[in-house]
């Protein structure tokens, strides 16, 4: 299999014109200079394609669902044809042992050259029995497939942070994949699910350049995760003006004011929603009138209600935000001060009467 990406496309009847369009679109979404587009085209035409093996652990398949809805029709056809040929349980035509044999062939043939894409994560309790993959705990497959991979892509918040299955009290002890795979570069693409265009662009980047994109300290590609939703939100002028939705059915909600007071997590969430948007750029949650829930952030399930601006303090176990804890404790401190002052005054008074008595003796 020394086919290039371009060969696959041509075989599928895609014109050169659309191929070049795809290259420029991807260049733009990666934030690269337009002069890079020919470079991408050249790489895709000449380099033998890099196989991708896509495995699914404890997950809901929302990442795959998002992926196949990539805006540019070519992007999904192209990248999908690349992936499904090798291994993707939900999307491949083959199934069962036959499909698995494909994966093993690829691993054999492309040792150290294939990309492992992981959707979902491994639960570790009870020796990993909460997620069984071909009769064995998923964590074993994960380790085995990762061993000879060139790089690993962690799709979604599950693989990146743990997501809902790792939310407290996390009975199965589901962990992000970087707790299990420690010796490979891991590209985290968090989101529940991640944005389709972000996913395809990252895959294309790796396939084109044969290396992983620049990552931030938490392992996310900088080009899509270096800014918060709030930084590019189109409702930001209302935030700065101090114009907030106070209730879901008020005038401000209709006027499209800022959702900060309704618990919008845009100010603390790193993702590309407010620039790339969803479903072919149609909209994104805030544009549809609902605050960001922070789905691409670590542990977003455990911060209390999605509708509170001040979130719960994890350390206290009970429902308490910083203002509740702070004000109650300030009340206690205040009361203690008053009590101390009272005792001091009484002591002083009794000392005084004591000493006047002594003097008057």
């Amino acid at each position: 299999m020394t086919e290039t990406f371009y060969d696959v496309l041509r075989r599928q009847g895609i014109s050169r014109r659309s191929f070049l369009k795809f290259c420029s679109l991807t260049t733009a979404s990666l934030g690269l200079s337009p002069t890079v587009a020919p470079q991408i085209a050249h790489a895709l035409e000449n380099k033998p394609r890099t196989p991708v093996i896509w495995i699914e652990g404890l997950e809901c398949t929302c990442c795959s669902e998002s992926f196949i809805r990539s805006a540019h029709p070519l992007a999904k056809d192209a990248v999908l044809s690349l992936l499904s040929l090798d291994y993707h349980m939900t999307l491949s035509a083959a199934a069962g042992e036959q499909l698995r044999a494909n994966a093993h062939d690829t691993i054999e043939k492309y040792k150290g050259k294939y990309i492992l894409a992981v959707e979902g994560n491994p639960p570790l309790n009870e020796d990993g029995m909460y997620c069984i993959y071909y009769g064995k705990p998923f964590v074993e497959t994960l380790k085995k497939y990762a061993k000879d991979a060139m790089a690993v892509v962690a799709w979604g918040s599950c693989a990146s942070w743990g997501c809902v299955q790792a939310a407290k009290p996390n009975p199965t002890n589901a962990v992000p994949i970087d707790k299990v795979i420690t010796d490979k570069p891991i590209i985290k693409v968090p989101g529940c699910p991640p944005i389709a265009e972000v996913m395809t662009a990252i895959v294309t980047y790796v396939l084109t350049f044969g290396r992983i994109p620049e990552l931030d300290r938490q392992g996310r590609p900088k080009m899509f995760y270096s800014q918060r939703i709030h930084d590019k939100c189109y409702r930001r002028p209302h935030f700065d003006a101090g114009q907030f939705v106070e209730k879901w059915d008020d005038e401000a909600a209709r006027a499209g004011y800022c959702l900060y007071k309704m618990g919008c997590k845009g100010p603390t969430t790193y993702n590309a929603c407010s620039t790339t948007r969803w479903n072919e750029g149609v909209s994104f949650p805030i544009q549809s009138g609902h605050g960001c829930i922070g789905c691409s952030e670590d542990g977003f399930w455990d911060k209390g209600s999605f509708y509170d601006r001040l979130t719960n303090i994890p350390a206290f176990g009970v429902e308490a935000n910083a203002d509740k804890v702070g004000a109650v404790a300030a009340g206690v401190v205040g009361a203690a001060v008053v009590a101390h002052a009272a005792v001091t005054a009484i002591k002083k008074a009794s000392e005084k009467s004591g000493s006047t008595k002594a003097e008057g003796k």
Partner: protein, 229 residues
């Protein structure tokens, strides 16, 4: 020197001018930070009209950040003065070192005993007593450094990757806390920590002024500690 400090020589110049200036400017900045910070967390009711006509949240945040810079620069200046200033300018910073000496703890428990109404007499000191030192270090100083570190980490998120605030603070503070929302929560809690300190501080400053027989409140204005007649 006797342990109850009754043989200390007064009047004594304790708080030098830079310490006094720092104290009052810093206290003012902190009040501004608490008020604006509270309204960042729980904003005022919505402003009517077009967005272009108002900038309320923007001004509140700007005031917070301006006061934050004043607060930070003041603390840096104060740390510098601890190096070049008198012995009392160093007190607040050296508490962990003092704590290594058994005699510090003996004095500490004497002071504690007084405040628990076990011991009648109140020891005299030129600078702070041991309980005050512990609070100045553990609550004020650590609390302030925490606020500066978490505050600049959030500030760096706005100025963006590559800015010095981001490189110096956000880049490591945010992963340390887990995510940005947690930094907000703990920064907010830190405000309350400093509010608790301030309540206790005000109480003890006034109490000492009335009961200790030494000048206390006026010492942070004139710099001199003296025996009250």
């Amino acid at each position: 020197m006797s342990i109850d400090g009754r043989d200390l020589k007064f009047p004594k110049y304790v708080w030098e001018a830079p310490v006094r200036i720092w104290h009052w400017v810093m206290a003012l900045a902190m009040v501004v930070l608490c008020v604006t910070g509270y309204f960042i967390g729980s904003p005022l009711p919505s402003v009517p009209g077009e967005a272009i006509d108002s900038y309320l949240m923007g001004y509140i945040r700007f005031t917070h950040f301006a006061a934050a810079y004043v607060f930070t620069v003041m603390l840096l200046m104060r740390a510098y003065w601890a190096v070049v200033g008198n012995k009392h300018a160093r007190e607040m910073f050296l508490v962990p070192l003092y704590m290594l000496q058994p005699s510090w703890w003996r004095s500490f428990f004497r002071v504690l005993g007084h405040y628990l109404f076990i011991r009648r007499e109140n020891d005299w000191h030129y600078g702070h007593n041991q309980l005050a030192m512990a609070a100045m270090f553990g609550m004020y100083l650590l609390g302030s450094v925490f606020m500066i570190v978490t505050g600049f980490a959030m500030y760096g998120e706005g100025t963006g990757m590559g800015s010095w605030q981001y490189n110096l603070f956000s880049s490591w503070v945010i992963p340390l806390f887990g995510q940005s929302q947690d930094v907000h929560t703990y920064h907010h809690l830190g405000m309350w920590y400093l509010v608790w300190f301030t309540i206790v501080h005000l109480y003890f400053v006034i109490r000492e002024d009335i009961t200790s027989g030494l000048t206390v409140v006026s010492s942070m204005i004139s710099g001199w500690r003296d025996i009250k007649n």
